[in-house]
Symmetry: C2
Subunit: 492 residues, 2 copies
């Protein structure tokens, strides 16, 4: 707490790491690439999870749980999925340790306990789930299946960053099965819309919805929809994806149903997911050089009350004075904390709550008691105002709403300034280097051009935005025909 | 649905398996010993989890998340824990698969991707958590740490049964750190009491609280408290445990704190957990030969309304008629489903909802519309009554409360009949064989006697009940001195 954060201008990456550590969100563990999510960070994730879970249930989904292990042979079944995922993964080969005969304080793998078939710690669950669905689906009456799972997954990442890219992470994965192609397409569109609504209304994070180009699709998908957010350093972050999987998994796992007319048909699939990566997106959308900034709807503590006092008597008086306010706030559903820790000075507490992104701070001292006032500080603007104690519960509720809106407005303003239309490749490189952000430009639709641009600039097609209207043009790189602008950016 | 369940009298074990399958609770997966928890089963588990989570938070705990992998060396640190757990576990030895050079459709483990140190899929998290706590605890101001984690764990079981014993299961594990021994002891007692309250008030399952004998303690604990429930077949089921770990983990991971006086002291620990095993306990406490019986507080659907109709017109009339009732129930917090599936007959639906343990079933037909009545069926008693439509919302609420209570009363009555005090070993064996249940008897306190009894009868000491008053006696097996009765039973 003593030391100031590195500023964003100085070193964005260091600033990010210091916020994650300083605000007690997460830390690295003894296992390479795996994180410990600390209580304060986990409380934010719980709020995200609970709201998403509510939205999934409101759209007709149910939760279930499938095994963490996937037998190797199931991975082999869907070729592209295997290609995309099974390579960098945690492989369980044995089921027993034994005491080292040479050193009784050590454990060694028991060579007798080798598994006949290796098990993969799930990097994603399509294979195990579609293998299960085969047993659940016989007739059209068994469809649709609308299931979601909250789970941990493991992908062996070489370079990790807390929340953004970790070997183990927490996520939800929806896996649905449908009788027809239009129904499955509708489902995948519906869910990317749910993600967009969540990002905008709860995280106060504007996103651009669109389709991925073929090379950026999920391994095994025929169409991938995405929400792309813009971080403060001008890089894009893919915040959630929803996949139309066609009949690929139904084919791989032989999942057929009998139609009303008695015919056998392959089942259509979708899958969709968001992960603890959203924590990284949240941090990098709103926070500032003083620390974390949280939208009130996701803040574990929305209001902190810091007493300014000398001695127990004054503290008791303040406590008594603010008790009705605390109760009134709680009855409005506002989460409020009275920080009466007597081992810390007010200045220390102010800095601590700033760093942790508590949206509103109330300071109350002897003079406020006399004057019937409170000092109210807004974390998003870092401003203070003196308010009448009598109106304080109402004012606080209003301010929380204002902060939620104002964070979204600020973020969308920032994004508007950072979407640039370019016509030439020189301009493309110039914008990318000097300004960053999203670049809207024409592309000839080939993977070849996409790869060439990526190789030369490190920028990728983030999506083909749903909102982008058809317009004839020439590809920024090859000069070939194009009928729509797509969105490029460097990405996390 | 067509076929009747095997009766409990006929084959209790087959009956259990058929309920788990028939009520759509869970099934075996493609991974040996791992289960798929199906949506209906998961909805029950979610209700348990949410209530427990609320109780943990009300007692001051916060959630966090720690890695699924434990490096082998961390396991070696606490000797008894390693002895008890690290032996039968899933061991990750490699982090990559590659395409089989001899068959491009197959994947093989890449021998180049061998881990320097093997990773264990957590069977429990004391080791990884206490290794983390070392970094979190410096001074008395950092204590207590009151953390809970909801997670999946893996123990390589040779013989598995859905919910009761599976290789992977879901659980919560509390891990707390304290400055003093009395505080840690108080915490472990508090949490076994939370479990008992949950079991009795939510699961309607009576439990006996007590301490484990040394041989039945958690590996690494100095004291294990347990709640023991009695299943309908006369066997005990350990439903939750809370451990006082002394300073064992603080020693193993060198976790010390500076006291107010500036001295260095080792930290005191507890851990406590319940798992998806509770699902098995719930099933075997209340269910009958018609299927699952659920206490209303844990039932995903508390009331199902089945329309008895011919044609769309009658169905529409019934729907319109019962809509205000549905709304009134929902506003009381009752979860209600209108089963208007027109591909199934009422008789099929009745059997289905019976099998799934829906506490109350309402049947409503044309005649009920005319007479202003409804038919209300209670799942716990399998009785029906005709009620006035005008009072139905109130009556249904009252009945739900009655069912919750009556299930508990029935279970406690059953248990009372099945706790037997015995004085001789002949009697012990006779009761165990002919009646089963809990046996209260004197024990000389030695592991030798405990092992001998187990070897001869398969019964173990379930606990030394908190409620059992000291009384002088002779050990049922050795004749040695004893000053308290302990509780024996055969157990799941």
């Amino acid at each position: 707490m003593a030391k100031k954060l590195t500023s964003r201008a100085e070193d964005y990456s260091a600033w990010y790491n210091e916020i994650v550590a300083g605000a007690d969100l997460a830390e690295h563990s003894a296992v390479r690439g795996c994180m410990v999510i600390k209580p304060y960070g986990f409380a934010i994730w719980e709020k995200m999870r609970d709201q998403l879970d509510k939205m999934f249930k409101e759209t007709g989904h149910q939760n279930a749980y499938f095994p963490i292990f996937v037998p190797k042979s199931l991975f082999e079944a869907e070729e592209k999925n295997a290609e995309g995922f099974a390579k960098e993964c945690a492989v369980v080969t044995h089921y027993r340790l034994k005491t080292d005969p040479d050193d009784s304080t050590k454990l060694i793998v028991d060579p007798k306990a080798k598994l006949e078939e290796e098990l993969i710690v799930r990097p994603t669950s399509e294979a195990i789930i579609w293998n299960t669905y085969r047993g659940w689906i016989q007739s059209y009456r068994d469809l649709p299946i609308l299931i979601n799972q909250w789970a941990n997954v493991v992908r062996w990442e070489m370079r990790t960053r807390l929340f953004l890219r970790t070997t183990e992470f927490l996520w939800q994965e929806g896996h649905t099965a449908h009788a027809t192609k239009p129904e499955a397409l509708e489902e995948s569109e519906k869910m990317v819309n749910v993600y967009s609504e969540f990002a905008q209304n709860w995280m106060a994070m504007p996103v651009i919805m669109g389709s991925k180009s073929e090379s950026e699709r999920f391994a095994g998908a025929e169409e991938t929809y995405t929400i792309e957010a813009l971080m403060q350093d001008g890089k894009a972050l893919q915040a959630g994806t929803s996949h139309f999987l066609g009949q690929n998994f139904a084919k791989a796992f032989d999942v057929q149903y009998t139609t009303r007319e008695g015919k056998k048909e392959l089942v259509w699939a979708t899958s969709w997911g968001v992960s603890t990566r959203l924590m990284g997106a949240l941090i990098m959308t709103h926070s500032d050089d003083l620390g974390l900034v949280l939208p009130p709807r996701l803040a574990p503590i929305q209001v902190v009350i810091v007493p300014i006092y000398k001695g127990e008597d004054q503290l008791d008086k303040i406590r008594e004075h603010i008790t009705p306010l605390m109760e009134s706030l709680k009855s409005k559903g506002v989460s409020v904390k009275f920080d009466d820790d007597d081992t810390r000075k007010p200045g220390w507490k102010f800095a601590e709550h700033e760093l942790k992104g508590v949206p509103l701070r109330v300071a109350v001292g002897n003079r406020d008691l006399e004057n019937g006032t409170l000092e109210l500080a807004r974390r998003d603007l870092n401003t203070k105002e003196s308010i009448a104690f009598a109106d304080s519960a109402d004012i606080i509720s209003v301010r929380l709403e204002e902060i939620q809106e104002s964070l979204f407005d600020r973020a969308i303003e920032f994004r508007k300034e950072n979407v640039t239309e370019v016509e030439t490749f020189a301009e493309f490189k110039d914008v990318l280097e000097k300004k960053g952000g999203f670049i809207l430009t024409h592309w000839d639709g080939t993977g070849e051009t996409e790869r060439a641009i990526k190789k030369e600039t490190n920028a990728t097609i983030r999506c083909i935005p749903f909102a982008e209207k058809p317009s004839a043009g020439k590809c920024v790189y090859s000069g070939g025909e194009s009928n729509q602008r797509v969105m490029f950016a460097k990405a996390y």
